[in-house]
């Protein structure tokens, strides 16, 4: 299952791109409208992208009254990314939603207010809605598996891993931050190993469904997230380079999975956790295992 990453696609501006996904994930909706941060809001680095959009969105009421009905017209399953600054705020938005999957954005690096502990927010939302609840976590945690377990205990049905991590870039000449806000959220290719590690440890810790994301730009990237434990994959920054990414990633994902002998990409789910198989002992692999590991 292929999704867009929250905040990386406007389905109403380009419905054909949204329809290339299996579901559409909205940009994070907060209780009140937000103008977002001052520009400059994006800066490319050598291996990734920094953004400080700052959750620009029309706010809950307008979203529910105007945007969501329009999105329903796409004919796609809708995931609503919910944000807020207290557990109550998240919970109230959740209570107002129906017939969608909810992704709780517990981790935006581009707003000042720190939300309450992830598990409290999940618990408050769980109390308000029977809808599927995904907890979206940042990789900037000393032990993400711990937080994932707490989210599960609080009632999360799944995890979205990962959000961006804080990064900074300086102007070539002035040596001052290229983003008006200073630091921003770091996404794109550089994030991939971090995302893989988060999915890997959280799959092990919880067994929950996981939307894996972070630097996915090829089918192989998607396959690796699935192997680490993801049950779905989201594409973010790669959409900016290529709005055709969903078609391409999907086609390549099937090819990459087939080339390794998997009937379906999801058959590879969690395979990174499997004990060494006979296949893994083929000559090619043996050649490069370090000398002397077996005494």
């Amino acid at each position: 299952m292929l999704l867009n990453a929250s905040g990386c696609l406007d389905a109403l501006a380009t419905p054909e791109v949204a329809r290339a996904f299996d579901a559409f994930v909205t940009k994070t909706v907060t209780p009140l409208p937000r103008e977002g941060n001052d520009p400059t809001r994006i800066a490319e680095t050598d291996h990734g992208l920094l953004n400080s959009i700052g959750l620009q969105n029309p706010g809950r009421e307008r979203f529910l009254a105007v945007v969501l009905p329009q999105l329903r017209g796409l004919g796609l399953p809708i995931w609503v990314s919910v944000g807020g600054f207290s557990a109550d705020e998240y919970a109230e938005t959740c209570s107002r939603l129906s017939d969608v999957t909810i992704e709780l954005n517990l981790s935006c690096p581009n707003v000042d207010e720190a939300p309450e502990a992830a598990s409290e927010i999940v618990a408050a939302c769980r109390a308000e809605t029977p809808l599927p609840l995904y907890a979206k976590l940042s990789p900037a945690l000393p032990d993400i598996a711990d937080v994932a377990r707490a989210a599960q205990a609080a009632g999360a049905d799944g995890l979205s891993l990962v959000n961006t991590i804080r990064g900074l870039a300086l102007d070539d000449e002035t040596l001052r931050p290229r983003l008006a806000r200073g630091a921003g959220g770091y996404s794109g290719p550089a994030l991939k190993p971090i995302a893989l590690a988060a999915v890997y440890v959280c799959y092990r810790a919880t067994g929950l469904p996981i939307v894996g994301m972070g630097g996915v730009s090829t089918g192989r990237d998607a396959l690796e997230l699935i192997a680490a434990g993801a049950s779905a994959v989201a594409v973010g920054t790669a959409l900016f380079t290529d709005p055709g990414a969903p078609h391409r990633v999907r086609a390549d994902l099937y090819k990459a999975a087939a080339a390794l002998g998997f009937e379906d990409p999801l058959a590879a789910r969690g395979i990174a956790h499997a004990p060494a198989s006979q296949l893994a002992l083929s000559k090619r692999t043996t050649n490069k295992t370090p000398a002397y590991t077996a005494k």
Partner: protein, 223 residues
């Protein structure tokens, strides 16, 4: 409908300090003057927005200034290389004007040759930092040229429908003189098609996406 394809480089020629990148048109549409394309910048994470400069048969030509990593990567392209191009994107100039006058500042002249062609060669005024930069005026034959310390705004006759592109200060000055002018603006862009909200500009007190609302805007809408 977004259109993206791989295109062969036909030539990459110096024009003063700028480069004219000529690529095979393939199935891409040239679009309306003032619209832009996102050009793959080899080795970089993001593509770069460029206005279409000229649209000879079978070609799409872009005039650009190598100023940073992305434009330097574009400057290194050679005939035969391929690059991905997305577009045309955004809103171009309205062409239903009575007495068009084209105004360009520096690399801001990039969209004007194609615009001039579509408008049947209206008068044009271009401003440049140096005589070396002013060599690019050859792409817009018949244009009047100001070189610093001269300013284009000193050369603008009244009574015209101004269509302008150039540095922010020039656009502000032009907009102040001609409230009905159509101005082509720039902002850093990640996607170019409304996906990222990176290209925010303050329009009437709220942040709008320049790639969706612009890049060409009426001067009156911007103050």
């Amino acid at each position: 409908m977004l259109s993206r394809g791989r295109h062969s480089v036909l030539a990459n020629e110096p024009v003063g300090p700028y480069r004219l990148l000529r690529v095979e048109r393939g199935r891409a549409e040239p679009g309306i003057p003032g619209q832009f394309f996102m050009l793959e910048a080899p080795g970089r994470v993001l593509p770069r927005p460029m206005s279409l400069c000229l649209a000879p048969p079978g070609e799409l030509d872009f005039l650009f200034e190598p100023v940073g990593r992305g434009t330097r990567a574009l400057a290194a392209l050679e005939a035969g290389d391929e690059l991905a191009i997305l577009g045309p994107l955004g809103n171009g100039f309205r062409l239903d004007v009575d007495r068009p006058l084209l105004v360009g500042g520096g690399i801001g002249m990039a969209p004007l040759p194609y615009l001039s062609e579509k408008l049947g060669g209206p008068p044009a005024v271009l401003g440049f930092r140096t005589a070396h930069h002013a060599e690019a005026a050859a792409l817009l034959p018949g244009s009047e040229v100001a070189v610093e310390p001269g300013l284009v705004t000193e050369l603008l006759p009244a009574g015209h429908d101004v269509l302008a592109c150039g540095p922010e200060r020039m656009l502000q000055a032009v907009g102040a003189l001609f409230p009905g002018a159509q101005l082509a603006w720039e902002a850093p862009m990640a996607c170019g098609y409304g996906a990222c909200y990176g290209c925010a500009v303050d329009l009437d007190g709220t942040y709008k996406r320049l790639c969706v609302e612009g890049p060409v805007l009426e001067a009156a809408a911007c103050s």
